[in-house]
């Protein structure tokens, strides 16, 4: 009974490798069934996101399991075994538990503290649960991972600070506006960072996207990606009247929007707040505009400033989170070791002995004084009864069976042996 993690993430594999190994859509169900049928693997959860593909398993022999999982991956995804080896990492037992906790708590993420991973992990676990691919050990482990992640989120401020520019933009937007879904965002020009920021806003609920590009065609294509609408670049100032968030990255050499225009826009939109993100270098929007009431203008340096402040804060919080994880790994291991057969057998015997002792005492107190022989006989009988009763479960536990962990857990529950856990 070993917890074993095999996986790859954004640190060990490029995006094209990650893409090839991803278990998306129907592949997940098929992959899970296949991995579960490997002789080495007793339980399995597959977590597949854009930044990582990981398999959490309960195996008998990690070394053997690793080989057969590699075989499976290379065959299933059609990748050469050699190229897999450089990307994959493995963790066993305490390390594996720690790794899974860190993933759940978003300490292992590309953007530390980002909230999506916990949901993805929950989904992965629920899917395995549905497909009956998990058992006592992984069920407990995954539930624990989820609760540890929640604890870290409430006890530390790790999830509070955005540490990438586009996350920072979303964070700021949320502090200006209350209901992003009713807001309109306009992309002014195009660029990777601007598109990423827009994507994050859309992920956070913004539904209406306008794209104003100097080349109308390009704008149309980009608009399609966001299910949005292209507008003529010449009209963008006019369109700002109904736009709440502007992401500008036009590559112009001078300001495309000046204070007077913005004053006019604000009047037209009845002073409803506007959040303008100017990602262009050199800046495309007159910085003076930030002085207008209800206009919040951030350029790249401003956003970077927000990110830097957050990073420092997050470092401290991450240390706190690691402390919590170390503590929780220990708790989990204590639970896991209680699943071993030997302590359970000992506990069962102790319980039986205790019952025997109590009952004997009670009986001997009630009866008139007995001779040495009679007393010995009664004791002998009591011993024989308990021995015969606990013999079969003891044998069953000592046997090396597939479902030993389930047996142990069941036995402990049936006989109420859990109270002794420290």
């Amino acid at each position: 009974m070993n917890i074993f993690v095999v996986g790859l993430n954004h640190k060990t594999a490029d995006v094209d490798v990650r893409e090839k190994l991803a278990f998306n859509g129907p592949k997940l169900e098929e992959g899970l069934t296949r991995i579960k049928t490997l002789p080495e693997v007793k339980e399995a959860v597959i977590l597949s996101t854009c930044n990582r593909v990981e398999m959490y398993t309960n195996v008998k022999d990690p070394a053997k399991a690793y080989e057969s999982i590699k075989d499976f991956l290379s065959e299933f995804h059609g990748i050469e075994r050699n190229s897999l080896e450089t990307a994959l990492y493995t963790h066993e037992n305490a390390d594996a538990v720690k790794h899974i906790f860190r993933v759940a708590a978003s300490l292992d993420s590309m953007v530390v503290g980002e909230p999506q991973i916990l949901g993805q992990l929950k989904d992965a676990f629920e899917f395995s649960l549905q497909k009956k691919a998990t058992g006592v050990l992984l069920n407990k482990l995954m539930k624990k991972a989820i609760s540890v992640a929640k604890r870290i989120r409430t006890d530390t401020k790790i999830a509070e600070n955005a540490v990438s520019i586009s996350f920072a933009a979303v964070e700021l937007a949320k502090k200006i506006f209350d209901d992003l879904p009713t807001k309109t965002v306009m992309l002014l020009g195009a660029g990777e960072m601007a598109e990423l920021a827009a994507k994050h806003l859309v992920n956070n609920g913004v539904t209406e996207v306008l794209v104003a590009n100097r080349t109308f065609e390009t704008g149309c294509n980009l608009a399609k990606e966001f299910n949005g609408k292209a507008v003529r670049f010449e009209d963008f100032v006019h369109e700002m009247v109904r736009t709440d968030i502007v992401i500008c990255s036009t590559g112009a050499s001078k300001y495309v929007l000046i204070k007077e225009q913005m004053h006019h826009v604000m009047k037209e939109r009845r002073h409803k707040p506007v959040f303008i993100i100017d990602i262009s270098v050199p800046r495309n929007i007159d910085p003076e505009i930030n002085n207008i009431d209800n206009v919040y203008l951030y350029d790249v340096d401003d956003l970077q400033g927000v990110v830097d402040v957050n990073r420092q804060g997050r470092q401290k919080e991450a240390e706190k989170a690691e402390g919590i994880i170390a503590e929780e790994v220990e708790t989990f291991q204590r639970w896991q070791s209680s699943l071993d057969a030997v302590p359970t057998i000992v506990a069962l015997r102790e319980k039986a002995d205790l019952i025997k002792k109590e009952e004997l005492e009670r009986l001997l107190n009630k009866l008139p004084p007995l001779g040495e022989k009679e007393r010995k006989d009664i004791e002998y009988m009591a011993n024989a009864i308990i021995n015969k009763l606990i013999h079969p479960p003891t044998i069953a536990l000592k046997e090396d069976s597939e479902d030993k962990d389930i047996l142990i857990a069941t036995l402990k529950r049936l006989y109420g042996l859990n109270e002794k856990e420290k």
């Binding site: 502090k175 209350d178 009845r270 409803k272 707040p273 009431d293 209800n294 919040y296 951030y298």
Partner: protein
């Protein structure tokens, strides 16, 4: 007994204020919960003290400065609890409870003697007028707190160094909307208080407006909030300006309430 209840309420409000200030610097879920609990207990005691006084005096206890200030705080706390349950506005208590505590403290320092009700006050107008006035005032007190929170949050966003309270303060939009809503609640009550006051004055002294300083200040306050509402409806004035005006509006209320008492006498000698 009434005094003990009042003092206990004051103590709980004080404790809530302290926790509220701690909350500003080092907030956790626990501090927020402890504070709310303290406010709820304080409010229960406060309510009991008002009821007790009502029974002891035999009239609505808003007849002298001590009672009025206490009732003012009571309305404010009630409104705070309603807002807290409805919107769960982070940190609102930290901004409101100090104000409540100061009001209660000034109430505590004023004479608590129960006197027979002066003849002018023996009128049903007395209850209606004062209750309207203080519900309105409580809404404006809350708008004042929200307005300060708005300005703080706005400062963080404009200065581009969002840190400190930034994460825990609500968004500008929700602060602005709650502020607006509070003023739309407070304004009709203030209007009614002024109308009932005028009718009552006519009955008592013969004449709707007597040039009493408090009447004048009440009209000034009314005008300020009327401007806030009007400008918002007509030209979409919102955000910072609305926040600043709701702060100024509340300051005029405080002047009307305490300042005039200190300056001299008018017809509102009772309060």
């Amino acid at each position: 007994m009434g005094t003990i209840l009042f003092e206990l309420a004051l103590t709980f409000y004080f404790a809530a204020t302290i926790i509220g200030i701690i909350e500003l610097f080092k907030g956790t879920k626990t501090t927020a919960r402890v504070m709310l609990l303290l406010v709820v207990i304080g409010f229960a005691l406060h309510t009991a003290s008002i009821i007790y006084r009502y029974i002891a005096a035999g009239y609505i206890p808003i007849s002298n400065p001590h009672e009025a200030t206490s009732f003012f705080s009571w309305c404010t706390v009630l409104l705070f609890l309603i807002l807290e349950l409805r919107y769960k506005i982070g940190l609102l208590g930290s901004f409101i409870m100090p104000l409540v505590f100061v009001l209660m403290l000034s109430s505590a320092m004023l004479s608590r003697e129960i006197k027979p009700l002066s003849p002018v006050l023996q009128s049903y107008w007395f209850g209606i007028h004062t209750v309207f006035a203080f519900i309105g005032n409580a809404a404006f007190a809350m708008a004042f707190g929200i307005g300060i929170m708005y300005l703080v949050q706005e400062r963080y966003l404009k200065s581009k160094h969002p840190s400190g309270l930034f994460q825990r303060l609500p968004s500008l939009q929700s602060l602005d909307e709650i502020n607006y809503r509070l003023i739309t609640i407070g304004f009709p009550f203030l209007t009614l208080a002024i109308i009932t006051g005028a009718l009552w004055a006519d009955k008592a002294w013969g004449g709707y407006l007597r040039g009493d300083p408090r009447e004048v200040w009440a009209l000034i306050t009314w005008l300020i909030y009327a401007i806030v509402l009007h400008a918002r409806l007509i030209s979409g004035w919102r955000g910072k300006r609305a926040a600043i005006l709701s702060i100024i509006g509340f300051l005029t209320i405080l002047i009307a309430f305490f300042g005039i008492k200190l300056l001299g006498k008018g017809l509102h000698v009772f309060l």
